[in-house]
Symmetry: C2
Subunit: 243 residues, 2 copies
């Protein structure tokens, strides 16, 4: 599995993804699941992926036009008129990749499945966040559903539901998502460090701050250890149960 979150707040977008990929429990590797594109001052896009790694990598490669020689590439993902159109292009690409894998070769549709979170902004529009399904269709985040999770989403969901606030700073989003990721990593072997994080500041239309958190990262360790203590204090502060 995988764990990725895209979070929409008034100040912009925050993306976080783990890097564990596995073909069985005895075969794990580190692969980034976060891909960004930008035309500085004009558009910024961030794509998070979960599912079959061959499918997600093929999708990203096609979007990047890696079929062409490097000099000839003018990825159409950088020329779409809107975020909606960008999501449509990604949806079509993933659908094409999955149906290509499913035809002729091994026949196990679900095995090739993949989902994506796309966020970003194109000048003139507002920051937008989408969840793209393997069927090629997608949904958009809004005031009532301001975040998307893909992969192993259940462990880390309650803390986001309870702590999210649309007026949070991007730094507070980082803290929130690290808690959500740490809870997931502590519960499930298929999600693992390091963690990639990407900020996007509203209306900047450039790639924002990026950071990778690994086992030795001091802030990550502070959060991971500190959250257990903070939870215990929070728990102790609740009124005791009486028969």
């Amino acid at each position: 599995m995988t764990y990725c979150v895209g979070l929409l707040v008034e100040r912009g977008l925050v993306f976080m993804s783990d890097t564990r990929t596995n073909a069985g429990l005895d075969n794990i590797s580190v692969v980034s699941k976060m891909k960004t594109w930008e035309v500085p001052g004009e558009r910024f896009l961030c794509l998070l992926s979960a599912g079959n790694l061959a499918t997600t990598q093929a999708t990203v490669s096609l979007l990047d036009e890696r079929k062409l020689a490097p000099a000839e590439r003018q990825p159409s993902i950088l020329t779409q008129p809107s975020m909606f159109q960008t999501a449509t292009l990604i949806g079509e690409t993933v659908k094409e990749v999955i149906s290509g894998s499913a035809q002729g070769g091994q026949s196990a549709d679900a095995v090739f499945s993949a989902s994506f979170i796309l966020g970003g902004q194109i000048k003139g529009g507002r920051p937008r966040l989408f969840m793209i399904y393997p069927e090629g269709n997608f949904i958009e985040a809004g005031r009532d559903n301001p975040f998307f999770q893909i992969g192993e989403h259940k462990y880390g969901r309650p803390i986001i539901i309870r702590t999210y606030d649309p007026e949070m700073s991007l730094e507070d989003c980082a803290k929130l998502l690290l808690v959500s990721f740490d809870s997931t990593i502590k519960s499930n072997l298929s999600v693992g460090l390091p963690i990639d994080m990407q900020f996007y500041e509203k209306d900047s239309c450039v790639k924002g701050y990026r950071r990778r958190f690994d086992q030795r990262d001091e802030y990550y360790r502070t959060i991971s250890d500190g959250w257990s203590d903070a939870l215990k204090s929070a728990f102790d502060a609740l009124p005791a149960f009486e028969r």
Copy 2:
């Protein structure tokens, strides 16, 4: 789905189960998933169930010997020499029920599946806790894995992992499990109120305190509202992220 937890602490056992059962999203009902048996002073047993309701109810009915007239029943579950033997009997019964449903009729094995948590004590032994699989085999809780969850277990797992302490009082276990259940109920429609709770005090060999928490329960509401606030304070107390 369902959510049930059995927790082993030094002072005894605490069981909690939700009561939602559903056949599709548009057909939900309230059914208790907690069954207890006792021979006061000699043994106490508590069985939590998740999975196909027809399977779990048939299993409990067979264990109760409901095939016989009420006057003739001497449930063999009350005469097993050990908790291990009791778990074996339950495992055999559920296996028999599932294979009975799968034979001749509709053939969808997984549809008839069910899992159980069994806890209790027989005089002379110690309190023991088992998880029983639909295949009829089972595992036992111990110092390193002191609790079992069945059903929709992911949302409520991180808080138990982080807060569990073998020296907790049964009242603190109640508080912990209510937080875990509330997080699950807030995230997943297939788990719902009311919640059943059963205490078992070590070496008592009698049924302990029992309580049902519903929407109007004052303590449940205190926990549910209070936990969001407590989490927010805990979150605020963590050091801020700096770029």
